[in-house]
Symmetry: C2
Subunit: 316 residues, 2 copies
């Protein structure tokens, strides 16, 4: 008798955590956050084929690209071509990042129905990433969000450096909650709380989510976005699920990196997330084998191995 094909984990609902969500929406960020942080240029046709494969694997949201100025992120300079070329699958959302009004205009003229803005929870990162003061970023984003909402487009507000900042160190939870509320109040329908440098641990995740709860922000409006720089992403995700979070960002194959740490480790890998959700009996809608195939295919296109443990274990 040989070794069995191990394809999926055993399902055991968490007996200590009856509050775990029944269903999680995986917000796939590989084509945007992943490829944005890969050094090589990826042909538009490869991006589109990758997105098609992610669609086929059942992902309900595929963040597609960013309408940032090509000078800043040349990897995504084909944003309009990618959106034009999408083979849209019914029921699937294809959000794009828009850094400012000019980006929003380009996105809207491409027919985009979902956008995201990228704000900072800290002064230092606002200055460096947005060339803005912390307080001024909200004035900058307000007309973007208003115009998007007027155009009938949903807006997600990313909040970055929520759990630590490479220049400032610790980040005040009060400031995080205040910044998150300002994004919601200006018209964002959802928040994504980002551990941009991957330093968070589970108690901190619980403390931040508890602070949003105390500020009357419904947990259904909050997603989490963990990087695996220090190996904590999935443990932090489990802590967030236990607080009722039901939207989790991840990147197929763990694509991407962290520009602020000397590490190749990037976003939480979607495959590793799916393994845990499957084992916890949480509905996710993804065919893990097809997803691993998509990431394996993308490994070949990029010429570098996926850091995802599940991809390494299941890909032959």
């Amino acid at each position: 008798m040989g070794v069995r094909e191990i394809g999926l984990p055993e399902v055991t609902r968490s007996p200590e955590s009856p509050e775990l969500p029944e269903k999680v929406t995986i917000w796939e960020v590989g084509p945007r956050d992943g490829l944005q942080n890969e050094s090589g240029a990826v042909p538009t046709a490869v991006k589109l084929e990758f997105i098609n494969r992610l669609n086929a694997a059942g992902l309900p949201v595929v963040e597609t690209t960013s309408f940032v100025h090509p000078k800043w992120v040349p990897q995504l300079s084909d944003a309009a071509e990618v959106v034009d070329g999408l083979a849209r699958k019914p029921g699937v959302r294809y959000p794009v990042l828009v850094p400012n009004e000019r980006g929003l205009e380009r996105a809207l003229s491409s027919g985009v129905e979902d956008v995201a803005i990228f704000a900072s929870a800290t002064e230092s990162f606002a200055e460096r990433n947005l060339n803005s003061r912390f307080d001024d970023q909200f004035a900058m984003f307000r007309p973007v969000v208003r115009k998007a909402v007027e155009a009938g487009v949903r807006v997600r507000g990313y909040l970055s450096m929520v759990f630590g900042d490479p220049w400032e160190g610790q980040v005040s939870v009060d400031r995080v909650v205040s910044a998150g509320r300002r994004l919601l109040e200006m018209g964002c329908d959802r928040l994504s709380l980002g551990d941009t440098i991957g330093v968070a641990t589970p108690g901190q995740v619980e403390a931040v989510l508890r602070a949003f709860r105390a500020a009357d922000v419904p947990v259904g409006r909050i997603g989490v976005h963990f990087h695996d720089t220090y190996g904590q992403a999935l443990a932090n995700t489990y802590a967030a699920l236990r607080m009722g979070v039901s939207t989790v960002d991840s990147s197929a194959g763990g694509l991407g990196g962290c520009p602020y740490a000397g590490s190749a480790t990037g976003n939480l890998a979607t495959e590793d997330l799916v393994w845990m959700l499957q084992g916890l009996g949480i509905e996710h809608g993804v065919d893990l084998k097809m997803l691993v195939d998509a990431s394996t295919w993308m490994e070949e296109q990029l010429g570098k191995p996926s850091p995802s443990a599940v991809v390494k274990a299941l890909a032959r």
Copy 2:
């Protein structure tokens, strides 16, 4: 202003988990479980230097080697030399694995004060790893444990394949608890529950620990031993800590592999565990920088990079 040196995470006690232990004993298995699964032969002097560096980093338990027959694990054929050469640090334990009475005799004549036996929770692995029936393994271990206890030596009982078996698939929780109790009843002072193939997810970990609790086995007698084959090791560890577990096995730098999955990913990396414990405000006694230095040194000896995310992020 430049990027700050990120050396340790911010400390936030877990507000949702007041039951987390105040202190965790890290049971370092790198020199034994790690090197046992590395293909290359490592010189005895390198092993001893590695153990010295782990000592210097503050690890309270360093599982040193295995007195298995050299025919089965040639990597550890220098077990007696390693034990002889130890620069024992006061207060530190140096357990060794003993597969049978002959191994115990060799270990005792080397002056060992701590041993471990390695049992199976499944029929298939008992046959393949122990050349025994599941039920017969207890008769095989009983005289080993009795003689060790008579010699004043503590015995840890490893239970392997607790969360899944590569030949059988799912493993009955009742069988796991029954096997664990039999090991304790014959004189083992502690158990280590092993996810030998790395398939477990957090709900399953909680279910198994809850079953031991229901069988009146004190959680203080239980350690956990996770492999990161599918990226779940640290999330599973967090689930175990929340159940009151305060002994966690790990391997410096994530040394080791899994012989039953097509993956190079081995034991939970001690560095990634320390990062989480530190962030959770749980006492661990380890100097993370010195530990990363030890693993970086060992990488050079083995000529292959550590899979630990923390080692990758912190090593320059």
